[in-house]
Amino acid sequence: MTFDDALRATELLLALAFLQQSAEHVFGSRVAPKLFAIRGALSFLLLFGLQSQWVLLGLCLHSLAVLHRFQGPYNGGSDRMGLLVLFCLCLAHWAPDGLWAQAAFGYLAVQVMLSYFVSGQVKIANPDWRGGQALRDVFGFSAYPVTASLRDLSKRPRLLWWASWSAMVFEVLFPISVLNPTVLALFLAIAFCFHLANACLFGLNRFVWFWLASYPSIFWLQGRILDGA
């Protein structure tokens, strides 16, 4: 994947993620609808590639207003990832061509890989995760909007033990996937399914779109590393 193709793919996916988020605020929850209508309008421009450089700068400034409105990210980790993708993309557009622009975009890829690795490492160090108790607690009485029927999964410790270890092993192994294009495609497909499952089970729908928007940067970085090797 060329640098320009990866930037454009990221723009498209980020625009779609912001449009989904804006639609939710404007038509669904009605929380700060005017603020998110502006984000939606800017995202449309980004989707069609109209003045992308200026639109990205506008979205960065607008995101400061959103942070001020909610005194921080509205939805924790998923919004932080959205901001990371946005700011890295904006820097890649505004930095001088060549190494600086690539460094900004490569930083995004490294952060995404670390997001999986660090998450797995933290879980493996926690005895509750190693024994499956953490996931039982999540299904049993977490504050996530888990539906009542899924709470019964907390009574299936063996299944949750396997699920815990599958997630932990996958996450800590994620960085080595960058060594082979087929393995990376496989890992990203699994990661996407993982986020999709979290959206269905826990309502963490924003993670799906923002993490997906970051995947072109990993594909590009892998090509850059393998070409240079």
Binding site: G76, D137, G203
Partner: protein
């Protein structure tokens, strides 16, 4: 509405770490909206909310109340 629930959870976590007028106001606003859906508002009705953390302990659970709000009127300015 799931993301709205997650934001309320974020506010509760912020209150547990360091209560701020913003986080308290955000939860107040949603408590008012929820209670009004359940019952017809009356003048001088006050409500209160608590932030309770539930934790697994062996086979059972333990609960800890980390914050209790001051009573506040169900309607923004004391009238329906």
């Amino acid at each position: 509405m799931r993301n709205e629930s997650l934001f309320v959870m974020s506010c509760a976590e912020r209150i547990a770490l360091h209560p701020t007028p913003h986080s308290i106001a955000q939860i107040r606003h949603r408590v008012r909206a929820d209670v009004k859906q359940l019952t017809a508002p009356r003048i001088k009705t006050n409500v209160q909310f608590r932030v309770v953390f539930v934790q697994g302990e062996g086979a059972g659970q333990s609960q800890e109340t980390v914050f209790t709000s001051d009573p506040f009127p169900l309607t923004e300015f004391g009238c329906p």
